[in-house]
Each structure stands twice: as C-alpha cells, then as structure tokens.
C-alpha cells in the first residue's frame, strides 16, 4: 500500500505547491463540468418532469429508451459528435473540435439521460395529491411544476449531483472531443489517463485524489446550501 501513501503525499505536495499547470487543468475540469451539468439539468429536469406527470401513449417506450441510453458508451458519443463537428462534418465550419465546447456538447449527451431518468423517478414518487392541491389553489402549469419539484428536491438534487459526478470523472469524451491539448482542453481526468499511459501511476492517483478533494469541497458546499434551503 506504499503506492497509495506515495500518491497521497504527492497529491498533498501538488496541492500546496499551487502549481500553475495544475491549477489550470483543475480550472478547465471544473468549468467544463459545471457548464455540462447546468445545461444538461436545464434540459433534463423539465424533460423528466414532463414525462413523469403526463400520461401519453408510448410513455413506457420513452422510459425504456432513456434507460437504454444510460448505457451509451463514451466512445459512441465521442465518435458521433466527432463525426458532426470534425472538419468534414456538417458542423465542421464552426471549428468546434478540440475545444472545451466540444467536450461540453458530448457530456450533455452523456448525462441528459441520467438526470432525466432520475428526475422521472423522483417525481413519480410524489403523491398525486400534491399536484391536485396546487392545481385547485389555482396554480398554472409552471407553479404546479415548482411545487412538485420542491417536494421532489432531494431526488432531483441527487440526480444533478450524480450527473456532475459522471462528467467530472469522465475520460472518453474529454479525450476524444477535447483532445487533451495541454493548456487548452486538458482536464484532470485526461491528465490522469496520460500519466497512467506513461506508467506514472503515483502521479495519476495523486491527480485523482485532487479531483476527489475538489468534489468533496463542492459537495460540502452543496450540502450546506441544501440544508439552508430546506430549513
């Protein structure tokens, strides 16, 4: 277990040294993951909400497809987006490939199904009388949604945190669409993969520990605000 100890010491060392290269990749990781999660939530939470409350033909089929999309491998997403935004793709002129925007696009495809599915399951569990109560008090669709989302907040926050965890720890899409270009699109995870390929396991794990430390910080903050809100 020396290996883990070494990694831990290296991680600490890297952290306290405030290495600018390190700060740079941490910043890129956070920025990209933050935007992916936010944009995905803006799509997925309303979508999940809508699917949960409405009853339409083929609802079960939609849920099955979403569940299947939970298994979408990052390579598939990466290649799919690649084929769209590469120089020869239909969106090639935008020059998106190997930019942070490209990573964000791919990651959104990755986690929209995740957040949607878990939003559906959070909303479905809410007693239907909440909805009826809101409606009889005169709430329109929007306020009714607010009520249900508030009652399901624990599940929805879980879904969003789950999505965030997924993107910040994700490697395939960041690598394929971002390209791991040093100083541009290198994230903590792609840097880890690089060190791993080099056989620098200690450094790779050290980076992983930094990632975990950053996430822990974010989760403590989030937990604190959630506590505030639910009071």
């Amino acid at each position: 277990m020396d290996f883990i100890k070494d990694s831990f010491i290296s991680a600490l060392y890297l952290l306290v040294s405030f290495d600018p290269d390190l700060l740079d990749i941490v910043f890129v990781s956070l920025k990209v993951s933050f935007f992916s999660t936010m944009l995905s939530s803006c799509i997925a939470v309303p979508l999940g909400f809508f699917i949960a409350i409405s009853s339409f033909r083929g609802k079960r089929a939609v849920i099955t497809v979403l569940n299947t999309m939970l298994a979408l491998p990052t390579v598939v997403i990466g290649l799919f987006v690649y084929s769209l935004i590469s120089r020869r793709g239909i969106l090639g002129v935008l020059g998106l490939l190997y930019t942070q925007k490209a990573i964000i696009i791919g990651q959104i495809i990755l986690i929209v199904p995740i957040i949607t599915t878990f939003t559906i399951s959070a909303i479905s569990r809410i007693d239907h009388r909440y909805r009826k109560t809101a409606m009889t008090l005169g709430a329109g669709p929007f306020l009714t949604a607010v009520v249900l989302l508030r009652e399901a907040r624990f599940g929805i926050v879980s879904a969003v945190i789950g999505g965030f965890g997924r993107v910040i720890s994700e490697i395939g899409i960041s690598m394929m669409l971002g390209g791991n270009a040093k100083g541009f699109t290198r994230t903590i995870t792609t840097a880890m993969a690089l060190e791993y390929d080099k056989g620098e396991f200690v450094l790779s794990i050290a980076l992983g520990m930094i990632l975990m430390a950053v996430c822990l910080g974010i989760n403590i903050l989030a937990g604190y605000f959630q506590g505030k809100i639910s009071e």
Binding site: D127, R129, Y130, K132, T133, A134, M135, T136, L137, G138, A139, G140, P141, L143, V147, R150, E151
Partner: protein, 219 residues
C-alpha cells in the same frame, strides 16, 4: 345555474362509480352531498372542481360546457377551490402554504401577511403561522386547509368532509365560516359530510348519492 351535469359517468377499470343522468347545482346556495362510503362523493367533488375529467358526459359551468383539457381548466380552477378530504400540506411553513395561493393571485407582497393572519384567525390556527405544515395534527391540517382555501377568494368553495377530524369548537367555527361565505360573500358552497345533523343545520339543498346514483333520499 352554476353547474349543469348531463349524462355524466365516471368509470374506473370497468367499474362505474358515478352515473348521473342529470344534476343541477344553483348559484349562491349551500349544497350538501350525502351518501355512504364509496358512493362517489369525492369523485363528484373532484369533477366539480375540475381536477378530474368525467369518463363520459358533459359538465356545464355557468352555462358553457367545460372542455377538460389543461389549457381551458386553468382559468376555471381560479374560481373554484376544493378542500380535500385528507388535505395535503406542502413541505414548507403554514405561512408559505397559504401565501402560495396569494402569489398565484398576484396579491401584492405587503397585503399578504394581513390576509394570512385573517384566515388563520378564522380557523383558530393563528399561533401556528410559522409552524412546519407537515407536522400538524390531523385536525390542525384540516383547519389550515380551510384557511388556505379561504385565501383564494374563490367564487365556489367545495369542501370534502371539512369537519371529519375537527374538534367540536372548530367544527362550529368551520360551520360559521361556511355560513358567512354564503351570506356575506355570496360564495356558493358545496360540501360533503356524513353528519346528517350538520347537513340539516347548514345546507339549503341535499344531494343524496348511493352507489354513484343520485337518489331522492335514503330509506
């Protein structure tokens, strides 16, 4: 005429729980819906408050047929408010639960506090204004639900067994509220109850339901 129901049926999985060829409910009256358990009272009240669509038939509200699609119902629901048999409180404070109805009606912020205090006062729950609505006792919940409905300033108030779990003195308070709604504010009231004495004391017209059918009276 407030409501005019024609050939209305409500069917759950093949079982007809409500079957009303014709029913008329007039304005500015207090109606009492009576009937044994499972006779369809709650089902009828849900339809009258536009929360559920009938399986068949037409409901006329103030002369026009009701289109049971979310878009059209929203406006109607602003006029009619239902107090549920087992009311649900949102998981916020009592104050915020009532404020919700005021927000929807765009009551200015400065007036809200006063209105909330007034309606809570009427049901004798003022001291609970900042309590956590989820933790209220059975009767307290029912009384706050009445207060919350009062804050909606509706044209029609529908109560589903409003005094079932309410203590004696609060029961009188709720009955007084119902009286006043009718006499002072010209609000039509429709309520269900198992308490025949209460019905006789309070309502102008009784509707008897039995197995989903409208009957003249019970034997």
């Amino acid at each position: 005429m407030l409501y005019h129901i024609k050939n209305l049926k409500k069917i759950y999985k093949g079982r007809t729980v409500l079957d009303l060829p014709e029913l008329i409910i007039e304005k500015n009256k207090i109606y009492g819906i009576l009937g044994p358990n499972g006779s369809g009272k709650t089902t009828l009240l849900s339809i009258l408050s536009f929360l559920e669509a009938p399986s068949r038939g037409t409901v006329f509200y103030r002369g026009s047929p009701v289109v049971f699609s979310e878009k059209h119902l929203h406006a109607l629901r602003q006029e009619v408010v239902l107090v549920d048999q087992h009311p649900i409180m949102f998981s916020t404070s009592v104050y915020k639960n009532i404020e919700f109805a005021l927000k929807i009606r765009k009551v200015p912020l400065k007036d809200r506090c006063q209105i909330i205090k007034d309606v809570l006062e009427q049901v004798g729950m003022l001291e609970f204004i900042n309590a956590d609505a989820k933790n209220l006792s059975g009767g307290e919940t029912q009384r706050v639900a009445v207060a919350r409905a009062l804050a909606c300033f509706p044209k029609v108030m529908i109560f589903d067994e409003p005094t079932a779990s309410v203590d004696k003195s609060s029961q009188l308070a709720v009955e007084k509220i119902i009286q006043e709604l009718y006499s002072e504010k010209n609000i039509s009231v429709i309520m269900s109850t198992h308490n025949m004495v209460q019905a006789s004391r309070l309502v102008h017209k009784k509707i008897f339901l039995l197995n989903g059918h409208h009957v003249d009276s019970f034997v």
